[in-house]
């Protein structure tokens, strides 16, 4: 549905994005993660036909964003980061104006349906200028959904919403994403974890990682880390475990009775370790694998030192 190849954009001498290549399938929610200024908005603006790329190609729903811009724009719903709206229009009039620009049949009905979808039906006659930030965000979302687009591009859709609204909007995006393609940008990692099928981490205009949120967590760690908790003193066990094959290091954990194990392999060692603990006469309370949070991965990937930053999945 979205296919991007070698996309590059320069603003004067500054390179905003550098040779981006990625794809998004139908029915997929693709998360675009990265610090501010990483090039997320620029990429989205190119995909929506707002601005041309310096080089590279991008097709959306089978149409080239440069050569067949109008066809692309007909099939894309876009929520810009700033949620630009006409503040002196009513919600209904504004959406009807957008519906007319998109040549929708029965614009009135379509606007009502969409307002119901985003839960704004009771505000239809209110002026946009009088709405709260969260409400405006939903008007923007309604505008993007108005024509039931094949591809939905949302630039930080949940920013500025209160926690209740965030949950609502996330559910809405997930529902929409079942049949359509959704590309959304965010810098809230838990959000990406919750609603995205796949995540693309972008830093300084380059993709530094691309995978499902789950795989990202596993893949980056290399070997597994385990957390072990026993009753009583850990010192004798530490010594015993340190001698075990396949364990790189064993050190006391943060809390009393905890041991952190860094394994040398990716293989499953938990049964073996459990036996060793029990046969040594220790009381085993807990043994679990600890994953890196997406936060850790994100920080590790987008940190300035380029040795880490360039490692691709």
């Amino acid at each position: 549905m979205i296919r991007v190849e070698g996309l590059t954009k320069d603003y004067g001498s500054r390179r905003a994005i550098n040779a981006l290549t990625f794809e998004a399938q139908q029915g997929e929610v693709l998360g675009f993660l990265g610090p501010n200024g990483a090039g997320k908005t620029t990429t989205m603006r190119i995909l929506t036909g707002y601005m041309p790329a310096t080089s590279g190609t991008a097709t959306v729903a089978g149409y080239d964003v440069m050569d067949e811009s109008l066809e692309v724009r007909r099939r894309v719903g876009y929520l810009p980061e700033t949620v630009p709206l006409y503040t002196d229009m009513t919600v209904f009039d504004y959406l009807k104006f957008m519906a007319n620009l998109r040549h929708l049949p029965d614009p009135d009905d379509r606007v009502d349906e969409t307002l119901e979808l985003v839960g704004l039906l009771d505000r239809a006659e209110g002026y946009i200028g009088k709405l709260s930030k969260g409400m405006r965000q939903r008007v923007g979302l309604a505008q993007a959904l108005l024509h039931r687009p094949e591809v939905l591009i949302l630039d930080e859709p949940t920013i500025g919403l209160d926690p209740g609204q965030v949950v609502e909007v996330r559910n809405l995006i997930r529902d929409v994403g079942r049949e359509r393609t959704v590309l959304l940008s965010t810098h809230i990692l838990s959000e990406a974890q919750q609603i995205c099928d796949r995540v693309l981490i972008i830093n300084k205009g380059e993709i530094v990682a691309e995978d499902t949120p789950g795989n990202l967590q596993l893949g980056l760690e290399g070997a597994a880390r385990l957390l072990l908790r026993i009753k009583g003193d850990t010192a004798p066990l530490l010594e015993k475990l340190g001698k075990l094959d396949g364990i790189q290091s064993a050190k006391p954990g943060a809390a009393l009775g905890e041991i952190e194990l860094q394994l040398a392999t990716k293989e499953e060692m938990r049964p073996e370790i459990a036996r060793a603990v029990v046969s040594g006469g220790f009381d085993l309370l807990e043994l679990r694998q600890v994953g890196m949070s997406l936060e850790d991965i994100f920080l590790q990937l987008t940190r300035d030192n380029s040795a880490n930053g360039k490692s691709k999945e």
Binding site: Y50, Y78, P84, L85
Partner: protein, 247 residues
């Protein structure tokens, strides 16, 4: 065509909730009305010495001049404000060609001026009752055609200039300066230069109206002149919008 109409009708409706448009409408109709009233009073008093009845030019003359101020006030926000508010991003990602956007904006403003001109028809109508054989319909028609052509060209240039700015006030003053130059100042080099003044004379916006159409003379040259200026403005506006995309 449909897109142009969608944009134009939104702009047209917007004028009726905009204070600036009411100020413009009031200034326009009140000034024309006052000048018209004075002309009639004056004609009454001086009829002994100059026995000629006033005609529609006493309405169309001041109207064309007032467009100098009214047009920049009506066009200044058209594209500049979209840029400032960020709604340009919305329009430029909607399935709408850049020239349709610019033309639609212009059409909205033109229809508003045309409505004002329509409302001002009340003055020639009054005059028609006051004068015995009625007023000269040719002068009326040519004068109003001239007013609409002047409005079209000024609004066209105004939209083009509005597309270059994200600040309405800047768009207003740049438009105003250009109109003042083309309406008045351009006549100066035309009168000073013995030869070669032809170009300046041709470019003079006022002469194409005040020397012909206001007196009931319609020439193709004048129509082409105003329509060319309109096209130039709209073309400039489209280019300016496209340049914005590249930045």
């Amino acid at each position: 065509m449909r897109n142009i109409w969608t944009i134009a009708s939104r702009e047209y409706k917007h004028y009726f909730i905009s204070p600036i448009a009411y100020v413009v409408a009031f200034m326009f109709l009140a000034t024309v009305g006052i000048i018209f009233a004075l002309t009639i009073l004056n004609a009454n008093q001086s009829a002994l010495y100059y026995p000629s009845a006033p005609d529609a030019s006493s309405v169309t003359g001041p109207m064309a001049f007032l467009l100098l101020l009214a047009s920049p006030a009506l066009t200044m926000r058209l594209l500049a404000d979209e840029q400032r508010m960020g709604t340009m991003e919305l329009l430029l990602t909607a399935p709408l060609r850049d020239w349709e956007l610019v033309l639609g904006k212009w059409l909205g403003a033109f229809l508003f001026i045309a409505s004002l001109a329509g409302a001002s028809l009340i003055f020639p109508l009054i005059l028609n009752f006051l004068i015995d054989p009625g007023i000269d319909k040719g002068i009326l028609f040519a004068g109003y055609l001239g007013v609409l052509l002047v409005a079209a060209s000024m609004l066209g240039l105004g939209v083009g200039i509005s597309a270059m700015f994200s600040n309405q006030v800047a768009a207003f003053f740049v438009s105003l300066v250009i109109f003042v130059v083309m309406w008045w100042l351009i006549g100066v080099p035309a009168s000073l230069l013995p030869n070669g003044g032809e170009v300046f004379r041709y470019l003079d916006m006022a002469s194409h109206f005040y020397e012909t159409m206001i007196r009931g003379v319609i020439t193709l040259a004048d129509i082409v002149y105003y329509l060319s200026l309109t096209a130039l403005g709209l073309f400039t506006g489209t280019i300016a919008v496209e340049i914005r995309r590249w930045r």
